[in-house]
Amino acid sequence: MICWPERISGGSLDSKKMKLSQFDHKTPTSRKEVVDLLTNLGQDSAILAGGTDLIPNMKNGTLMPKTLVSLKHLTAEKEHLTKDGSLKLDALSTLSQITESPLIKEKAPSLAQAAFHVGGQQIRNRATLGGNLCQESRCLYLNQSHDFQFVEACYKRAGDCCYPFPDGGKICRAVFMSDMAPVLITLGAHLVVLGSHGERQVDIADFYTGDGLKPVNLGPTELITSVLIPLESQKMQCRFFKATPRGGLEFAMVSIAVALTLDKNKKKCSKAVIAVGSINTKPLRALEAEKHLTGSLLNRSDIVEISKNAANEIKPLPHHGYSRGYLKQLVEVYIKRSLIDIIKTVDNKNG
């Protein structure tokens, strides 16, 4: 018998699993053209930026756009300070760029940090800021192909059930897991959105709907062109913490962003924003804790109390196998650690 190794050659496409359904692909060269295309194509189209969220969702059949409007021929403007001192980021900036930019690291260090904690290096090289802010929400029952289990479509896939919360009511409680969003909320960022009706600015705090079926407040013809981070945020003490089981290449159990505006002697807090990501259908605010912090002098014993209260007011959805109670505990610990870290920094600067 002879050997047949000569018949073994490199793998062809056919021998691999190719599960992307067919789609049309447009490559506009201006933002205006993007809007025009979206206007003409209607509901069945989607913007393709880095594709790190969209393509996996198309592979598993969660999304099935007929046309992809790719942003790959648009050039991203470099991040810079505007006349009024705001930091302006192009929505097309990749998360790697954000991680590495000296300007961002100086003016919005917590944002650079959050970007660094997204996925892994290869993902950050492609992932864009705009895509991150508009990513699909996630649910264990959703993020798989439904080839032979969970075949019956849930609300999110235009069906009529919900697996983890079978209480009816057409409510989807998939969790919104962007790491960038909570930080931008604490920084008071605004999104510049271009659509068929022209340009509008929206406070990122109003951008998230809390509706699992449609988590972002974005019209079918709209795209985010840039993100503006106001000057005042640059003077704040900001922190970002992301809790994960293995410390990399994964979405958060909880992510916490904190920004405090401190008075001159760096002890009294005049404004506080605390945003908690990855535990509900949108990033949540710890409003009571913010109120408590505002106008008070920072000290450790208060902080323990404030963090406890923050965990009480935050209402997590159990997700990805983590229970409500555990997520609350994480919220408490990471808010505490963020605030203590701020005190430490301030003490060092003062002392």
Binding site: M1, C3, W4, P5, R7, I8, S9, G10, G11, S12, D14, S15, K16, K17, M18, K19, L140, Y141, N143, Q144, S145, D147, F148, Q149, F150, V151, A243, P245, R246, G247, G248, L249, E250, F251, H320, G321, Y322, S323, G325, Y326, Q329, L330, V333
Partner: protein, 786 residues
Amino acid sequence: MNGLKLVGKSVLRKDGPDKTTGKARYTVDVDLPGMLVCGIKRSPHPHARILRIDTSKAQKLPGVKAVITGIDTKGIKHGFVETPRYLPDQSILAYDVVKHVGEEIAAVAAINHEVLAQALKMIDIEYEILPAVFDVEDAMNPDCQVHIHPNHPRVKENYCNIAGKTQTQWGDIDAGFKEADLIHSDRFESHLRTHGYMEPQTAVADYRGDGTLHMWISSMGHFNKRKKLARTLKMPDASIRIHKAYVGGAFGGKIDLFSHEYCVAALSIKTGRPVKYVASREEIFIAYRHGQPLISEIKTGVKKDGTIVAQQLRMINNAGAYKGSGVVIIFLAWGFTMIPYRVENFKYEGYSIFTNNPTRAPLRGHGAPQVRFAIESHMDIIAEKLQLDPIEFRLKNARVPHEELPNKDNVHNCGLIECIKEAAFKTDYTNRRNLRPKTDRLDDSNPIKQGIGLGVSAYFGGSLIYPNGSSAIVKMTDEGSVDLLTGAIELGQGSETVLCQIVGEELQLEMDDIRIISSDTATTPPDIGAWISGMTYVTGNAVREAAAGVRKKILQVAAEQLNEKTENLKLANKSVWVADNPEKRVTYQDIFQASITRQKGDTIIADGHWRTMRDEPFHPSLASTKGRWTENYAFSVQVAEIAVDTETGEIKLLKATTVHDCGFPINPQLVQGQIDGQVSLALGHAFMEDVMMKKGYTLNPSWLDYRMPLIHNVADSKGVDVITENYQTGHSFRTKEVGEGLVSAILAAIANAIYDATGLRLYSTPFSPEKVLKGLKQLKKNRGLL
């Protein structure tokens, strides 16, 4: 070391250049002209009766070349175990009832994946949903209304869904407990995790006009696969050729016959075209086989001085929908219990229970991690109750060299006592454990608590499983190099390297002088397979015998050529010379020619064969444990140093020390690789890996949501060899095992270290942050701290 040339040295891997340059071919790379792609229609239900299957639409779809269903494969049964007691119970394709999500119902061959996906959707199946049971104790409850299979006919107890039972005892268990000063019981549970092999399950079949079937399979042993394929396809063994391809990891998950392997073969026979199947990662997570959760109930009687006088165990295994290796793990669990410590009075019962979960497979360690986690935690609990030093307690009961085990096996040069002492010494164990005041465990000043823990394990190597032995052939080439023909399969463990080292040692050749032809059922001799931790021992010794045969022939011819006695001859650098007259020499090349001309054309070929326990006909009974098991027990002790964040529940394994007795390390770096690999596997088991299942469905069927450790999670791992076997050139290479035993003690060590750090005793895996935090909270409540 002993003037050895290659063995005992960390020579470069034989498969290294192929793999690092991307030249290595795996089954997924096999691409034949005209090849069709195969897909499998699977059950969406955990338990349902199939009322009707309609494939007519799919069959008519252009591009679909063949469809098979349970009607085509009716009556063909296969199983991980195929014995008179445990008959094969799996169908290739289900035709009446499906018993788990993902069970195979139909297979399609199509010209491409687009057509395939469409065709699979077009297969219309009507089901009657049946009630299902998932929890193992619900399933065995006598009142359980779900009967997945009839109870095993030989087990008469009043339980439901019994797939099998192992029971054994010795001494007098009641008398033993009467003697005890302390009787303590515990119950431990382990969870479901999976192998995480990189190369998916895949197979290619190419049925040729001459009636031969050619296959490439990502497998752990081609001869076992071929046997099962031949039997199920009703073809002679010799008509099936499984070709060599590298295997991208297996860890126990690719042993027995899988439905897709039969299906590609059947579809190739039907269409006359090559057919390929590659499972998606989701299919692997949802429908294929994972490891096995065990419940371990242990009751131990101990004298004040630490002598264990009685031990009673009850193990329960959630086998899934078919027997799989569930009826093996309850046998092995007995073995992993009885090896390390002496217990005069002993009773064991192990139950394997059917549930509507996917069938289970071995997973590196095959029960040992679950069992050792339980027993070593239990040992520490008892030591504390009796105020004994945990090291002394273990030493008191540890097996000693040349001790006979209750099953009449002998531990030979068992290094357990040395290992325990060495591990304690190397890590300053006793001081570091006792110096820490117990009261600081839960005070809140520093939320990070450090702890140290120890565990003991032992593992068998190379016992009897089809084909029960390995053969090898070594043949010389005319320039004096050699070819090694072995059925051994390289799946990353380094078998090709180690086997070449052995040949090189016998014949004093360089690694580059040895060409290895492996794992091809048509051209290489049968091999036991890359499981039961026996390849270096069983195949290694077969290879050594074959090489020794060649060496003998070389010396014989050289003796004639040089007119000298063989005892006076030495060999090196591909030549033989007279010991006291190095000028008088003859090269291997000349010897080869001389052999052909003088020895009736003998081109210098020799074969070698090996099996464990040549006087034992069979593997011991899975039901009664009677019969000998192996002559090869390796022992290990591992120490874990950890840090617990008591606010978040996160634990980090800072350092793992492994002291082991693997016999002679043929390649020390490969041994260290095995240690590091097993420590990181255990780390995943301990902290993050968890196949989340709900009602038979898998919630996290992806690499993103099933978390395996990343490089930064991997602990500093240190290996210490306690080499207890005396190695001499010319004697059998007394290797033991190092590929599976070391996932176990470290898991137990981590559990004991958590207790040391925080006072929290965990009775179940994984040690997830959530569980740790919950436990700590309870502990604080109990102590009035909350």
